[in-house]
């Protein structure tokens, strides 16, 4: 071979390459690869956090790489979600980074509602609040939305210490409290846990089990099997589409429908006669009473709620009533749910009690697959409880409140009584908002003390509504705060310090939580789940009544609780009927009383009835600025980034409306304009409107998007109703 320059280069390069390859392969290549893989696998760290997306409070595993939060997964050991996760939880990662978030304390500059604020120091803001509270501590109040756990207890203790009787709450679901019907009929003061996992038939009256009610992920898990779900709902919701039987009564007639079912159960003997005899009060006509004989439940139902009449009133065909009654009374454990969030219309109490009477007929209290009671986790108490006032508007209108702290509540958006709220809030001397987003009510505030994002602060939660488990969850901050916000609990504790409230003398909120957790440690029950494998053995042992200490001292218990985030007690279910009916009976007489009340408004008339609902993606109530959730609003609810007015095609055709057209809705209370979408899932006389959009103010993406059904809904007092008669017309383009 002639050694030209070209050949020389080629030979050298080839030789060098081959040598290089050989070197890589020979020396430590495998080890190097292994080291990189090991490093890669250890790179990811997981920290537990509680989800703040809705009232279910699932457990999350937040994944970090180099202190960057890069992923969120469901925590497998958390009993609520068991590793599952929903879009709201997944999006916490981005919600935290929302540039519209309020991140510094603000003081109002212009007149109320002008939206003019100036940045102030925490010192100046806290001094202002302290002075206002000091001037009249009893006239201080806190209006809270949806939250549970130590935050709730802290606020109660704070107000107690101030001597204020006003603890106001405004929300549609109250998972930690028993419904009014449970209080009046069973004498309960703790929420009931429906044993959905054990039930064979679940009869849900409008509870959106898979979309917003209590813990949708838990319900999705336990009801995905062979449970027969019967869904009573005017709306063909996602839950309804998973039901074995779905019936769509005229809105507001759920109670009548329930008593219609009771009629069939009674006539066909499909009820638990033993239970009725032993526990139900007011079942038969009351003979012991002298004077006029008190009609019993049986008379009421058999005389007043025959299938034909019920069919006429509810619109449900009699054969469908029989089908439901036979399924429900078919012997398998069955349970009826009377806990629809927005209530059942103008006769809410009557409807709830009527539905709940079905639970008495099948003897579900205390039965497997029926109703149980979960013991409260033995947390160290902070102080005496202060019952929340669930009619905050009346309390505010009474004028006794001068300073109001607003926590996770936005009544100017979420209440149908918007004008009354505006007037009531305007009377305050000082309105302080803890909001993280400049919403409608916060714009009226005098001071905004922004809370931290849920992943930036300490959170805890007590879950009592999941049958079979008493649950305490706790999570420490997983990411650094963004901006100068402060956890509202810390702010309240700081106020307590400045006001010298000795019952709240904690250096910070974590030490309060730590004190509370000591109660758990000392109770000698329950456990912190460590891994799936462990839990089965331990569960078995605990079922046998053995309790074995997992930790020698509180410090290690506390560390483990922070790491795992869950303390649970599977032995704390009370199935004893005496527990479930502390008053000694299942009293149907309040129902008989309610049944005598006349209907204020006609049940249904020719017009179109507007029904609001919460899409799953927006069921957290504060999601209107989350682009990923807005973009997912497709499916049966509407179009991405939009919450349209949902109409039946026949309704639309009569008004020449097509999907995408603009329509005007007018009710006795107001009007709104929005795009329509046609779907067969809406009944011909109904209009559905999603709740969660239509904010006037809620960040860049949340403001002015969609419509707020509250502008149209009738105001029936403290209970949200969710429907109203409306006129529908087309808005011509241009």
């Amino acid at each position: 071979m002639k050694l030209s320059r070209r050949n020389f280069m080629l030979t050298t390069a080839t030789g060098l390459g081959a040598w290089g390859l050989q070197a890589c392969r020979g020396r430590g290549g495998a080890e190097a690869i292994k080291a990189v893989e090991q490093w890669k696998n250890q790179l990811k760290q997981t920290r537990f956090a509680l989800c703040d997306g809705c009232a279910a409070r699932c457990g999350l595993n937040c994944e970090f790489v180099d202190d960057r939060l890069v992923g969120i997964r469901g925590a497998a050991l958390h009993p609520v979600n068991q590793g599952a996760i929903c879009p709201k939880g997944l999006d916490l990662k981005h919600q935290r980074l929302d540039e519209d978030r309020l991140r510094v304390p603000l003081r109002r500059k212009g007149p109320r509602g002008s939206g003019e604020f100036e940045e102030v120091s925490w010192e100046s803001a806290l001094t202002q609040v302290t002075l206002a509270i000091q001037s009249s501590p009893q006239a201080t109040s806190l209006l809270g939305g949806q939250y549970r756990g130590s935050t709730d207890d802290l606020f109660q203790t704070f107000l107690q210490a101030l001597g204020s009787p006003h603890y106001l709450r405004l929300r549609c679901l109250q998972p930690e409290l028993p419904g009014e019907h449970l209080r009046r009929m069973q004498g309960l003061d703790s929420p009931v846990a429906y044993d959905l996992a054990g039930a064979k038939v679940v009869l849900s009256f409008g509870c959106n089990l898979f979309e917003g009610w209590q813990s949708p992920l838990y319900q999705a898990r336990v009801l995905a099997g062979d449970t027969d779900l019967i869904q009573i709902d005017p709306r063909y919701s996602l839950t309804a589409s998973k039901a074995r039987v779905w019936a769509a009564p005229h809105p507001g007639t759920d109670g009548i429908l329930a008593l219609g079912l009771a009629n069939i159960l009674l006539r066909e003997g499909l009820y638990d006669a033993g239970f009725a005899h032993r526990w139900i009060k007011g079942f038969e006509a009351d003979q012991t009473d002298r004077g006029p004989v008190q009609k019993g439940f049986k008379n009421l139902v058999l005389q007043g709620y025959g299938p034909e009449r019920v069919e006429a009133l509810t619109g449900i065909p009699a054969r469908r009533l029989y089908q439901i009654a036979h399924l429900f009374g078919g012997g398998g454990p069955s349970v009826a749910l009377a806990e629809r969030g927005p209530g059942y219309g103008q006769r809410d109490a009557y409807s709830k009690m009527a539905i709940h009477s079905l639970n008495a007929l099948v003897g579900s209290p205390g039965r497997v697959g029926g109703m149980t009671l979960q013991a409260r986790p033995p947390l160290t108490p902070l102080g005496p409880a202060l019952r929340a006032d669930n009619d905050p508007l009346s309390a505010l209108e009474a004028g006794e409140i001068k300073t109001l702290l607003l926590y996770r509540s936005n009544p100017l958006y979420s209440s149908a009584a918007r004008t009354r709220w505006a007037a009531a809030l305007d009377k305050l001397d000082l309105l302080v908002s803890f909001a993280t987003q400049m919403d409608e009510t916060s714009r009226q505030a005098d001071l905004i003390l922004p809370d931290l994002h849920s992943l930036e602060r300490w959170q805890d939660d007590v879950t009592l509504h999941q049958a079979g488990v008493s649950l305490y969850s706790l999570s420490s901050p997983v990411v650094e705060p963004w901006g100068r916000g402060r956890a509202s609990e810390e702010v309240v504790l700081e106020l307590a310090r400045r006001l010298n409230l000795h019952s709240l003398a904690f250096p910070d909120y974590p030490s309060l939580l730590r004190l509370r957790a000591e109660g758990l440690f000392q109770a000698r029950r329950g456990r912190i789940p460590q891994a799936r494998e462990d839990s089965e053995i331990q569960q078995l042992l605990m079922k046998q009544g053995y309790w074995q200490a997992q930790y020698d001292d509180f410090a290690s218990f506390w560390t483990a609780l922070q790491a795992q985030g869950v303390w649970l007690d599977e032995q704390a279910s009370y199935r004893g009927r005496a527990h479930l009916m502390p008053q000694g009976n299942f009293d149907l007489r309040p129902l008989l009383q309610e049944a005598k009340q006349p209907w204020v408004a006609p049940l249904h008339r020719g017009g179109l009835l507007l029904v609001s609902f919460k899409p799953f993606a927006l069921s957290g109530g504060r999601n209107a600025n989350q682009s990923r959730l807005l973009e997912s609003l497709a499916g049966p609810f509407g179009t991405a980034w939009e919450g349209p007015i949902l109409l039946n095609p026949t309704t639309a055709k009569a008004r020449d409306l097509r999907t995408g057209d603009l329509a005007r809705l007018v009710s006795s209370r107001g009007e709104l304009v929005g795009p329509v979408k046609l779907t067969e899932a809406v009944g011909p006389a109904l209009i559905f409107l999603p709740f969660g959009l239509g904010h006037e103010f809620f960040g860049k993406r949340g403001s002015g998007r969609g419509v707020n059904p509250n502008h149209l809904l009738a105001d029936f007092g403290p209970n949200l109703v969710g429907h109203s008669y409306v006129e529908l017309s087309k808005v011509e383009a241009g």
């Binding site: 893989e37 992923g71 599952a84 992920l217 973009e631 049966p636 980034w641 067969e680």
Partner: protein, 232 residues
């Protein structure tokens, strides 16, 4: 060699969209924004369609989650001019984002319309903080290329790494995609279709199982379980 497949139980699925959201979070699919979404440019590797039949009140609805069907005979692969999409390891239809020239022939050829295009630089247009929060296992896609569901292939790679570290056979590594993991109703099953011991293989053989547009001969590896017979 595994042949990864998925079985989705439509009887269990309640349409909560957790799988789609988990997929978007796991694989860094950015929101495209309002105007883009209205144009139909939404990127959701796992899309959920509503199938609503009947007239009110006699309705029947199924929510049908559709990831890439991971066809054994994928029409998209046949038409790609540059070998940017191919049938890869374990039967997963892969997309090479760095090679794709953006001709969208694969999108035109896919009968399931589960390939998505980066009309703008969606991922790069996110705020810096959101880019920081991306999953580092999955590369974000630049503008002008087609992207698709990968059956969480990066998780397979991780599972293989882990198997190697533990001294196991990486070819037998088992993994779970984000959608399966997130599903609250446990309606999604995932595993090796060729391994007769897996739940997936058993369900795929069940009489309830069918595949979308089976008659097209694309041989998808995503199966759907229909309604049980004892249910009316």
């Amino acid at each position: 060699m595994s042949r990864w497949g998925m079985v989705i139980d439509l009887e269990k699925c309640n349409g909560c969209e957790a799988c789609a959201a988990a997929c978007q979070a796991e694989c860094n699919q950015p929101p495209v924004g309002e105007s883009e979404a209205r144009m139909g440019r939404k990127i959701s590797w796992l899309k959920i369609s509503e199938e609503l039949t009947g007239k009110f009140p006699d309705l029947h609805r199924r929510m049908i989650p559709q990831p890439c069907m991971q066809c054994d005979d994928p029409p998209c692969v046949r038409v790609c001019p540059v070998h940017a999409t191919y049938l890869g390891e374990g039967g997963i239809v892969a997309q090479i984002y760095q090679r794709c020239i953006g001709c969208r022939f694969c999108m035109a050829a896919c009968p399931y319309t589960v390939k998505y295009f980066n009309w703008y630089n969606y991922a790069g247009g996110l705020p810096a903080a959101e880019q920081e929060a991306m999953n580092p296992e999955v590369s974000p896609r630049p503008r002008g290329v087609v992207e698709k569901c990968t059956f969480c292939h990066h998780r397979l790679l991780l599972a293989k790494d882990q198997a190697r570290l533990q001294g196991n056979d990486p070819a037998r590594a088992v993994y779970h995609p984000a959608c399966e993991e997130a599903c609250p109703a446990k309606a999604i099953y995932f595993g090796d279709l060729d391994d007769s011991t897996t739940e997936v293989a058993r369900l795929a053989q069940s009489h309830r199982a069918s595949r979308l547009m089976e008659d097209l001969g694309t041989n998808p590896k995503v199966y759907y379980l229909a309604r049980k017979e004892n249910h009316g």
